[in-house]
């Protein structure tokens, strides 16, 4: 095998491989550790954590859709304090690289979370989930409002200082994702995570009512991959120097490669792990083989390759 340099970076954070879990699709990591060593993949992105414990939404919380699924979890979680006490030390013990995803209901909550994370050793980066469509009032989705998005990132940036990279996670449910992206980068985000789930609904034709307890849910899985690739391509075209963590329906090395060509520096795998607990290490191997087959010596050379015009392509 050709030795492809498979490493990637998000600002000052280095990862040996570009394949990460997706927030909310690997819980805190313990559940997947039976299937593969967590240190073998690029990073574990933990389930978005809020300041206080939260029970989340009523069930049913899922509906399968053609090549996708809806979820409506409502950010169930133990709260940051319990999380830092129980989950982080365990992940560090596993030698996993850790990206902590945070979510809040107010700009303050995000800053509070950042303050609690500032002193914690062993965290590679913070993913700021400003885009979860599952919060009670859709009007309150930060990621749909350029001003609110900036404020959250600005608050986190000021609190956290310059040490830990911040990755802002955006929602595709906006008219112009590039302008939202520009806003959060201006406000201090080092990287962008694209995309969160797409707002959707399924109606149960037996009960003739919305199927999910929370009525609407977030659409994920291969169904949304073309939307994710488009978002990554658009944002990379506008800001080629901002690293992107791509996600949305990646289920094979081919899919991960597609996102990297579109402009992603790393790829998170979410829903695919539900259907296949070994998805991430398998995708990782497939991607490595594909890069070698295409003659890339390092992953970095493939990032955004689809943007090169045929003229500059030798």
């Amino acid at each position: 095998m050709t030795a492809v340099d498979f490493s990637t970076t998000f600002s000052n954070a280095w990862f040996p491989t570009p394949l990460f879990t997706a927030s909310g699709c690997a819980s805190s990591g313990k559940e997947l550790a039976q299937f593969f060593p967590l240190k073998d993949i690029g990073a574990v992105v933990t389930k978005s954590i809020m300041n206080k414990a939260r029970l989340g939404r009523p069930t049913p919380r899922m509906a399968e859709t053609p090549s996708g699924m809806l979820n409506s979890i409502g950010l169930q979680g133990p709260g940051i304090d319990t999380f830092l006490e129980k989950d982080i030390p365990w992940l560090i013990e596993q030698k996993a690289r850790i990206i902590v995803s945070i979510a809040g209901e107010t700009v303050e909550e995000y800053s509070t979370l950042a303050r609690k994370l500032r002193a914690v050793a062993g965290i590679s980066a913070i993913e700021v989930n400003i885009s979860c469509p599952n919060v009670e009032n859709r009007g309150l989705v930060f990621a749909c409002d350029p001003e609110a998005s900036r404020k959250v990132i600005d608050g986190v940036r000021r609190t956290i200082g310059g040490e830990i990279p911040i990755i802002a996670k955006l929602s595709p449910d906006v008219t112009d994702i590039v302008s939202i992206a520009r806003g959060v980068v201006d406000a201090g985000a080092d990287g962008l995570a694209l995309i969160n789930t797409v707002l959707g609904m399924v109606i149960n034709v037996s009960t003739m009512r919305p199927h999910l307890g929370g009525k609407t849910g977030g659409l994920s899985g291969p169904a949304i991959r073309p939307i994710a690739v488009r978002a990554i391509y658009q944002v990379h075209a506008a800001m080629p120097h901002v690293p992107i963590l791509g996600m949305g329906g990646v289920a094979s090395g081919r899919d991960a490669f597609e996102m990297i060509l579109a402009g992603a520096s790393g790829v998170s795998v979410g829903t695919a792990s539900f259907g296949n607990p070994m998805a991430i290490p398998q995708i990782q191997e497939e991607l490595k083989a594909l890069l070698a087959e295409k003659g890339f010596k390092q992953l970095k050379d493939a990032i955004g390759y689809a943007h090169r015009s045929d003229e500059t392509h030798e």
Partner: protein, 282 residues
């Protein structure tokens, strides 16, 4: 290593039997040594639809029994109701087909340390894991009585050989097409006192489990039930399969029925809050 899913493995396994029993398919899968890790109550998660399927999630099925066979090695038996597209696909797989499965998953029925009187209550295909459980309980010296119920005869699963491990078996159908006309929960209160039941093991529709919990509430009977919630992953990473469970300090947790279940203590599950907004924040 974490303790979660600690017995689970993913493997490609061959279907070695598929026969119709009433309205169910009895599916036998050759899984090798994996059988040694399977306990009554555990379930298996199976990929459905093949390579180019639009169904991206696994389907969960209780492991009905495991056995060692001369021709197929370790085998796992499932009782599958052809419900929607995924389970119908599984039921249509011929012998020789290879499926991708993850097993064993979830919690198992707790086995009493003393030889006590137990009652097994199964609804529909919920009886599947109870026969394997009955065998284990019998070897521990328990006295095992069983009640099975369904809407109609074709939905009663009660194999001949399974009956050997139980002391008595009573069948209830709502339309009276088999056994006694009525609900499987009808005789429970009386049986608890008549037989001096120590533990009820139940598996079936959520309504049945909840009804049994109500019946055992003011008694000393332990109620171990195997719950069934919609599951996206089956391994604890998605948080879709949660149930409201009361903690010892009276606070509520939303526990994952795939890793903290499917077998749960019926007294802890807050049946009234299932599918509702558990407003209370702990």
């Amino acid at each position: 290593m974490s303790q979660i899913n600690r017995n689970a493995a993913q493997l490609r396994a061959t279907i070695v039997g598929n026969k119709l029993v009433g309205q169910y398919h009895q599916i036998l899968i050759s899984v090798g040594d994996l059988v040694d890790r399977c306990k009554p109550g555990n379930f298996v998660a199976i990929n459905v639809g093949g390579d180019s399927s639009r169904m991206i999630l696994r389907r969960a099925f209780a492991i009905s029994r495991v056995a060692h066979s001369a021709s197929f090695g370790g085998t796992m038996e499932l009782i599958v109701a052809p419900h929607g597209q995924g389970s119908k696909w599984l039921c249509s797989q011929p012998e020789g087909a290879i499926i991708d499965l993850v097993a064993p998953l979830g919690s198992a029925f707790g086995i009493p340390t003393e030889p006590v009187q137990v009652l097994l209550v199964g609804g529909g295909y919920g009886s599947a894991p109870l026969f394997g459980l009955a065998e284990v309980l019998k070897t521990r010296g328990c006295k095992v009585d069983m009640l099975l119920g369904a809407s109609t005869a074709g939905k009663i699963y009660a194999p001949m050989e399974g009956k050997r491990s139980v002391n008595s078996l009573r069948i209830y159908t709502e339309d009276g097409s088999m056994g006694i006309a009525g609900k499987v929960t009808d005789p429970i209160t009386e049986l608890i006192s008549d037989l001096d039941v120590a533990v009820i093991y139940s598996c079936g529709p959520m309504g049945m489990l909840s009804a049994i919990s109500a019946l055992t509430e003011s008694t000393d009977v332990v109620h171990q039930c195997a719950v069934e919630e919609s599951m996206a992953c089956g391994i604890g990473i998605c948080m879709t399969c949660v149930l409201p469970v009361r903690n010892s300090d009276n606070s509520i947790s939303m526990l994952r029925s795939c890793i903290d279940g499917p077998v749960m203590d019926g007294a802890d599950v807050m049946w009234d809050l299932v599918g509702k907004n558990p407003l209370v924040q702990p």
